[in-house]
Symmetry: D2
Subunit: 344 residues, 4 copies
Amino acid sequence: MISSIALLHGAGYVGGELVKLLLRHPHASLEAVTSRTYAGEPLSAAHPALRSQVSLDFTAPDDLDLSGIDAVVVAAEHGRGMIVVPALRRQGFTGPIVDLSADFRLSDATTYADWYGVPHAAQDLLPEAIYGLPELCAPYPPDGRLIANPGCYATGLSLALAPIAEQQVPVSAHITACTGASGSGASPSAATHFPDRDGNVRAYRVLSHRHTAEVQQTVGTHIDLSFVPVSGPWTRGIWGTVQMTWPRGLSEDDLTEWFTSAYEKSAFVRLSPGALPELRPVVDTPFVDLGWHVSGRRVVIGFALDNLMKGAASQAVQNLNILLGLRDTTGLLAPAPRSPAVIA
Amino acid sequence: MISSIALLHGAGYVGGELVKLLLRHPHASLEAVTSRTYAGEPLSAAHPALRSQVSLDFTAPDDLDLSGIDAVVVAAEHGRGMIVVPALRRQGFTGPIVDLSADFRLSDATTYADWYGVPHAAQDLLPEAIYGLPELCAPYPPDGRLIANPGCYATGLSLALAPIAEQQVPVSAHITACTGASGSGASPSAATHFPDRDGNVRAYRVLSHRHTAEVQQTVGTHIDLSFVPVSGPWTRGIWGTVQMTWPRGLSEDDLTEWFTSAYEKSAFVRLSPGALPELRPVVDTPFVDLGWHVSGRRVVIGFALDNLMKGAASQAVQNLNILLGLRDTTGLLAPAPRSPAVIA
Amino acid sequence: MISSIALLHGAGYVGGELVKLLLRHPHASLEAVTSRTYAGEPLSAAHPALRSQVSLDFTAPDDLDLSGIDAVVVAAEHGRGMIVVPALRRQGFTGPIVDLSADFRLSDATTYADWYGVPHAAQDLLPEAIYGLPELCAPYPPDGRLIANPGCYATGLSLALAPIAEQQVPVSAHITACTGASGSGASPSAATHFPDRDGNVRAYRVLSHRHTAEVQQTVGTHIDLSFVPVSGPWTRGIWGTVQMTWPRGLSEDDLTEWFTSAYEKSAFVRLSPGALPELRPVVDTPFVDLGWHVSGRRVVIGFALDNLMKGAASQAVQNLNILLGLRDTTGLLAPAPRSPAVIA
Amino acid sequence: MISSIALLHGAGYVGGELVKLLLRHPHASLEAVTSRTYAGEPLSAAHPALRSQVSLDFTAPDDLDLSGIDAVVVAAEHGRGMIVVPALRRQGFTGPIVDLSADFRLSDATTYADWYGVPHAAQDLLPEAIYGLPELCAPYPPDGRLIANPGCYATGLSLALAPIAEQQVPVSAHITACTGASGSGASPSAATHFPDRDGNVRAYRVLSHRHTAEVQQTVGTHIDLSFVPVSGPWTRGIWGTVQMTWPRGLSEDDLTEWFTSAYEKSAFVRLSPGALPELRPVVDTPFVDLGWHVSGRRVVIGFALDNLMKGAASQAVQNLNILLGLRDTTGLLAPAPRSPAVIA
């Protein structure tokens, strides 16, 4: 069975990754991609690497025809999701929606207003929105139709912290995490001006990054979050450390047990006990890599993920798979039976 | 039908790309990957991004079992292909072989000895070797079983020059082409030491690069080649210019006609009349991009390709496809019928 | 003797380099730096590396007091120099002016209008403007007071071509030259957006870059210029090749003789016969490096310079030195007598 | 007065910086630079940027003539300082020595053996060795003649932590600090192979880096150090965060007071209350930049320095200045009286 997919606001970097993934997906057919800026132009106008690989033109958002569409992915900035999703519903679309904006991630509208500085425009939809971090939140309710795809930092942080949170021990998590310039999107800005980014490292929104709210919501109140987000001189990927002083001495085996038990069924989580992960092996992959070091009461957890993939596009496809009743790895990892080389 | 593939000497960067491509290939099953250094270790020891995607271990070259293998890809350095390929034949292997070393590219053993500084060790196989630049050399002889996969620079240069060579006009081609550090392979060296490569540009083997010989063999004697290879501060991709002073004035339309007519059936060649291509859109793709500018007698042709893909691994798969009787885009571009978005 | 210097429009990258050079200069005292954007703010607001090294604040251009100023450096964009310089004269300033804009480089106002798309606003000053490429144009007329500091590409190209031009042989020069992102200035743009510049190479203004005009003016009409400017993924420096097919065979010694004789007295030109220069050794230095390879009729000349230094700021100081009657290396190279280690 | 300086083992990156600084130094004359590898070759063989700036050749270590030498700088790896320094003394050299190896940094020979894995070979010299972090350790004993120049990370960490240590409050400091590839030295290795470093981030020696020992020695026992060193994809500079959970709530003003009072007389420490420093503004400068954020009990301190400058070469010159009775900024910052622009 092939599902017909529409991708809304698909001209950004995440949109480009979604197109690539959906073109390869064995059970998805990409039927439309919208963009206000590029309406009428070929997808390759925004995504030059896709030239000669895809014959679609961008559709103006207002011209999108939803008849025959089975599922929608919304790759919009925060503030747009809460406009676009209700509009889809008003147009009678009842199929699965994966929304990559921040708008449906926080279950509480007041918290949203606090962190994003604007009132929530679609509070009635919040109760049905599912926070889409499959490793922690799936299986989803059977009638779930609206997924809030997690933030890029939040994905890494929540997966790094969840097995700790399980211990229900009050602890301060000191986090320093660095992201590449694609995290700032496709529009030029001072933060992504090459001469100022090349060879430079810069913290921003120290102790006040918005993803903190969704991580806190996910990991609960035992963990105090002290989060320093950092811009690094590369294009793709987030790499970070979580440091904690545990109330008592631990061993690496303790953490190995906690993490292994948390993720033994998660195809997209790769664990490395006793070693922090590197960034490069996750780039352009749907994985998050986690590792740890322990020395007495000192605990260090490292995490790495591609902000455009597990931090956005591949996680959206993973969520789409789940909503469509497919195996979550479909189209993301090579299918099992073909080759002895392939992991099931 | 699924063909069983063995990949020899698969621990380098090109080997890693080949594994990725073959895992995704709908008609190939990767059965074995050899490496002397990594024998017995998982593929991810050399290719960390592949962890959790492939369950194979590296096989020691001497332990490779060829029974049941339908085709072999040899990802060896120059000097190794002429040892490995005859050994495969001696072992009774009669299936298709794609050799990525330089050893079977030059049809003349003396020319080989001149450029590579060693006598050719398998001259008896030279007559049957096919220079595997599909856009210029396919269809191959029906009984062809040994493909010499072209060099990375040579692929770009030959495709940029072939439509010019067609004109049979004596002309000097002044070429400056820059490659990323992955072109130097996976072993550290002074040329790839980060502090000396970052922010640096350096020419090497000026007017004496070995790929000149295969380009000359391909484009014929009307074109005099003046080739300056350059190391640039990036990881993947070759970007170059060919400049010529034509005997008479030309228009951009002239070149557009020549290039369009040369490549209208080539799925992996993307043309941009009046604009030189950029590097980034070819990275991690099987395409070579070509563009040109003309002003009076001044002609500039630009070319860009991923040295690890169209310059090596994806071209090897393209050749493998041809030898196996498949469409050459199989496993490299999304198949046609699935989606209206997909180019056939 | 100490000369008092005012730097106009000193908030850009070139301005920052000029401040650094002038702070270190033994016979210069930097008295004022103007900027409309940063007026009233410390220099470190635009040049954070200079914090704690300089106590000046930016002056609003209209507030600049020229009394006591001995020389002025204008670090403005093209189109601004022809406004600012006449204004200085109207204010009664009669001292030396080094203008880094393009406005006084071309001796012919019509040529200027053709290349820059606007009429020249200070044609009366053109006759007295001196093209400030000291290695080719010094000594300057004794009453010279207005220097047009050459363009960055033009500096490299003119110095690479002048010894060839001397031969008075008609020849086509095929030039490919790559620049870092600082060449685009301090304002963010699509061309300098990190994710699109990192790992990318892109040509621009192919066969139509404005510096072509000043190079042609400098090297004369025997040389036909075919110039492809290229953006590379680094911050500082220009690296390029000039390729020519000479009418007859040459030897490397021929070029060595031409270049040595042209530059034997030039402290800022470093020659490497038989080897093209690398980029990194010129970065953050006042040198241009030149090298060459010859094979029969094939001639390749390589050049490298820091676009912000010999391509702009250090050349401006070199010109200032000359106008002030100082040795041209003053403040740029360590003075001779101090140490046996120091080159005079 | 001009002091004659010999630089031992000056072919590495730190050696190159030392040569640049000493060439510019108004009271130093660089008389000799030794290198086993480059003996007899010009300094530019190892330091190509210095070509045409310095006329010295490298001296073989055994050929060094110490007569007339006033001070010696030893730019050797750990394990070499404890050989070279005693040898200098045996040869009768009694002048100031600044040793950049790790060998005289730890006052206790057993601690040295624990961290460096070899017994200390010059224990008799340990009592007279001075740990050369001027901001914390100067003024030095008047008869001090042997300075142990601190490690690069240690410089940043100790300066970031010292005002905290002053509070005598037991606290855990969770440190993540990233360094550029020049920190690994001039010899190629897997860690600095461009394709594996570009776009990559990697932790190493997690909770076990050797500089931990000297930081602990400097800041005392109230602070528990949890230090994660990280390799980043750039060439120069260290950027790091220190995170702590304070026993009680603090304000940014508290830290501002502590840091201001600690460093008000330190020309090379730049403070930014309420903002973490960026990396780029310290590159190629003798400064360390410190900043902080506080939110309740959460404390974040950021630090940035150039590992080759304040982390090695400029700090060595600073120490040399002190031993020679000069102002510590001599040759590192522009002298005061020249210009109103110059900070004293």
